[in-house]
């Protein structure tokens, strides 16, 4: 399907720049998209990928540069203008409206209506078609989107992009909230689109995905194009990483697992259950040990973590840290006993977006820096700065509002919070979601470092490879039940996948 004719470009962007007050997000980016290709956009966190596609979708106005569409110069001044040209976008942050139904979200902004009155049954029908195409006929078109999981919302967002009669569909990290099975579905859709001659811009930090579906690659670094239109087939991964980060990164999970440093369990979970969500689970984590929870999206892994943490009130069972029992349903008690949680939904569960970075980092510790109720911001700042530097947070100015950080850097700030806190049990929910290869390696290294210091880590990840690579032991969760517990050495990716599928569908 790839037209080799270089002159027949669908989209051409030249010298695009975008300056925010205090930040140059883009500073001369070139991008060429051909009809019917899957063009991957690569770059570290904060490289400017999302900003670039927002320029393309009319959500941002570029400070400089030219865009031409099918050979004609165009200005895209509203999102409507982009849609009219035939550019549909799935944004990185979920852009659905919780209060509306699936169908209403899909047709938001281009409602099917007669004289302003909705044609609801037609919309439902079309939506069902789209969902079927996406491999999710089980999502009811009338269901309120607020009740879907993050993955479900991503599907809705995808259905919306498809509902436009688009020639170019932009997907900004669509696989971040998806599990392997979902990613397969997604690839199916992308292939179909490509076969229909629709071009796709695909952004992801998972390089193996790029290998699998990408045709060509453009790499961004610090708001500039460092390589454009590389053929996927003849660019080795190592070279890509070097282009993105400017140096070689060994992506090996920071070396082999350390293993428990003591046999005395640090975290003990006994018969813990949450009615209707997950059945009683029992396990323990020893100091220096990393335990991973594997499973599909919606299996209930996050809930297990949140229940251990006290953010949800357990129906049965108990949690002990160093032998001391935690008060059921009390986060402060858990925090006091040295438990920390880096939640799954950074923006809604983790961050104070309008506050400076350092206050986000010290959110659980600010009281500790001061004395008798007084703050000591100077101490907070320096502690935060130390962690920011250790984690290569960029930008490292901890006085900036955290809102202006890219997604991956926000994730690092979340981790920094618990590093400053210095907890003994760290619960990580999807710690590398949306994090670039470089930062990923740093986070892995960090987990290893913490293990060495005797921290017990319990982590959830949808990337089975990550769980197996990082953890000493794995708990496979399916449908609210733990279907397998064992050492990661005794199991491989396919076996895990088989287990979860069995558990989920059996």
């Amino acid at each position: 399907m790839i037209t080799q004719n270089a002159g027949s470009e669908l989209l051409r962007m030249r010298g695009i720049s975008k300056h925010f007050p205090g930040a140059k997000a883009l500073d001369g980016v070139d991008l060429d998209i051909r009809p019917g290709e899957v063009h991957c956009l690569l770059g570290q966190n904060g490289a400017g990928k999302s900003t670039l596609i927002k320029v393309l979708s009319g959500a941002h106005q570029p400070t400089g540069g030219e865009i031409s569409w099918k050979g004609e110069p165009v200005t895209i001044d509203t999102t409507m203008a982009a849609l009219r040209l035939g550019i549909a976008t799935m944004y990185q942050e979920l852009d659905v409206v919780d209060g509306l139904s699936v169908a209403e979200n899909v047709f938001l902004g281009h409602e099917l209506s007669t004289g302003g009155v909705l044609r609801r049954s037609t919309a439902l029908e079309h939506t069902r078609d789209l969902l079927r195409r996406l491999g999710h006929p089980e999502i009811p078109a009338q269901r309120e989107v607020g009740r879907l999981s993050a993955a479900g919302k991503q599907i809705v967002s995808m259905a919306r992009a498809l509902s436009h009669d688009a020639q170019l569909i932009i997907m900004d990290e669509p696989s971040a909230v998806l599990d392997p099975e979902e990613v397969e579905n997604l690839f199916g859709v992308v292939h179909t689109l490509r076969d229909q001659g629709v071009a796709v811009v695909y952004i992801s930090h998972r390089l193996e995905e790029i290998r699998r579906i990408g045709d060509r690659i453009t790499v961004l670094k610090d708001g500039r194009t460092v390589a454009t239109s590389l053929e996927v087939s003849d660019t080795p991964t190592r070279e890509l990483i070097a282009l993105m980060t400017g140096h070689e990164v060994i992506s090996d999970f920071g070396g082999a697992a350390i293993g428990p440093t003591s046999d005395q369990p640090l975290l003990e979970v006994e018969g813990l259950s949450l009615q209707g969500v997950f059945e009683p689970v029992s396990f323990d984590v020893r100091p220096g040990e990393v335990v991973g929870l594997a499973g599909l999206v919606g299996a209930g892994r996050s809930e297990i973590l949140e229940t251990i943490y006290g953010a949800r009130r357990a129906t049965t069972g108990e949690v002990r840290v160093k032998g001391r029992r935690l008060r059921r349903g009390s986060v402060p008690d858990a925090v006091q006993h040295g438990v920390g949680l880096a939640p799954e939904e950074r923006k809604s569960q983790g961050l104070l977006l309008d506050e400076p970075i350092y206050r986000n980092i010290t959110l659980s510790t600010f009281a500790r820096f001061g004395r008798s109720g007084l703050l000591n911001e100077r101490a907070e700042r320096s502690a935060a700065r130390a962690q920011a530097q250790a984690l290569h947070l960029s930008p490292a100015d901890v006085q900036r509002s955290i809102r202006t950080l890219s997604g991956g850097n926000q994730q690092k700030a979340m981790l920094a919070r618990w590093l400053v806190h210095g907890c003994e049990v760290l619960l990580l929910d999807e710690p590398t979601r949306g994090v670039d290869v470089g930062a990923r390696a740093e986070i892995y290294g960090l987990v290893r470092e913490l293990s060495r210091q005797g921290t017990a880590v319990l982590m959830v990840s949808s990337e089975i490879e990550e769980v197996l690579g990082l953890a000493d032991r794995v708990l496979v969760v399916a449908d609210g039940r733990v279907v397998h517990t064992g050492s990661t050495k005794d199991i491989n990716e396919h076996q895990v996948l088989d287990l979860v599928m069995e558990g989920a569908h059996g």
Binding site: A59, T79, V97, D98, L108, Q142, G276, H505
Partner: protein, 353 residues
């Protein structure tokens, strides 16, 4: 995040939620945010219906037949009608994520403008409907101004409409010289003070506006966009909705409703006055929020608003029937408001387990 998060989050994270499943559309009937159109209303409103039922029972016990008489029900409905129409407009504003504090004042201004000597003279000479359209036009214009200041001037709705509250009242006083203007146009009175099928015209107007509001919110593009703007303005914008223009329309609609309410108020009191509608904004917002519309925006229910308005109207009626001292009334009202909301919450909670 505001009120919702502060109050809602602990609820949303309560342990008693269930039904995990492989599919991405988990059957979370339990979450208080329930489903599609009509189901939302009913689910949300069960507690409120209960509260209304309890009040009516109280009315029957203390007042017997007198309370249940058609005439009394008509009084309750008439009482509810004016604030009801205003509340329908406010429901849209709140659903869109805003607030409108000016509705009472704007209604007052509209009653004044529609009953000036000049307007009444024209109405007598040409047609009574001139008064009607004057009121609507004044309301819509004031709402439009609110909308423009909010959407394009980027003034927070609370402040913009507060300013309008103050200014409209002053303007009404200036026009009227602070006098109550009595309606002398007989046709106007005979049209609006009349009955139709045994139900008074203003009650019909209320029902009509409520029905139209329900349709507009739940069955039209306009309504869906209002929810989208209130629920996630950025998502709405990214989906190509002209958010600013839409907000202007929402506030204009609220003003228009205040204009319609003005006509009803004029007919009910046979007069226009700058004091008409004093503090109605608070009553209207209370009715809307008690009804179940999210003060944070993104979810609205016309049915709930109507129930909310009725609860307050029945409350007043029962109080007067029992000849209660107004201070005791106040204390009891406060308690009942909280009780109604708590009841409603318990009820939605129960449905979930």
């Amino acid at each position: 995040m505001s009120e919702t998060t502060a109050t809602g989050s602990p609820a949303g994270t309560s342990a008693e939620d269930g039904a995990p499943g492989r599919d991405l559309a988990p059957a979370q009937e339990q979450s208080p945010k329930t489903a599609s159109g009509s189901r939302i209303s009913l689910g949300h409103s069960l507690g409120l219906i209960l509260a209304l039922g309890a009040l009516i029972a109280l009315g029957v016990i203390t007042g017997g037949d007198r309370f249940l008489s058609v005439a009394n029900l008509m009084v309750i409905l008439q009482q509810a009608a004016v604030i009801g129409v205003i509340s329908i407009g406010v429901t849209f504003v709140i659903t869109s994520g805003g607030i409108d504090l000016s509705v009472g004042s704007v209604m007052g201004l509209a009653t004044i403008w529609a009953t000036t000597l000049g307007t009444q003279a024209m109405a007598t000479d040409i047609h009574w409907s001139i008064m009607f359209f004057t009121a609507l036009a004044v309301g819509a214009a004031a709402g439009l101004l609110n909308g423009v200041i909010i959407a394009y001037g980027k003034v927070v709705p609370f402040i913009a409409t507060l300013a309008m509250l103050v200014a409209a009242r002053g303007f009404a006083e200036l026009i009227s010289g602070r006098q109550t203007q009595i309606v002398t146009v007989q046709e106007f009175n005979s049209v609006f003070r009349g009955d139709f099928l045994g139900i008074s015209v203003i009650v019909w107007m209320f029902l009509l506006v409520a029905a139209a509001g329900w349709f507009l919110l739940n069955r039209t593009t306009f309504g869906r966009r209002t929810i989208a703007v209130g629920g996630n303005a950025e998502a709405a914008r990214l989906a190509g909705i002209k958010v600013k223009r839409h907000l202007v329309m929402v506030y204009a609609l609220s003003g228009l409703c205040a204009g319609i309410a003005a006509v009803m108020m004029i007919s009910r009191t046979t007069s226009g006055s700058s004091t008409h509608g004093y503090l109605y904004e608070l009553d209207a917002i209370a009715a809307v929020v008690i009804g179940g519309t999210l003060l944070a925006g993104g979810r609205g229910t016309i049915f709930g608003t109507v129930l909310g308005v009725l609860v307050f109207a029945v409350l007043t009626n029962v109080f007067v029937q029992n000849n209660l001292d107004s201070s005791v009334q106040a204390v009891v009202s406060g308690a009942i408001i909280v009780a109604a909301v708590l009841l409603q919450q318990r009820f939605s909670a129960h449905r979930t387990t």
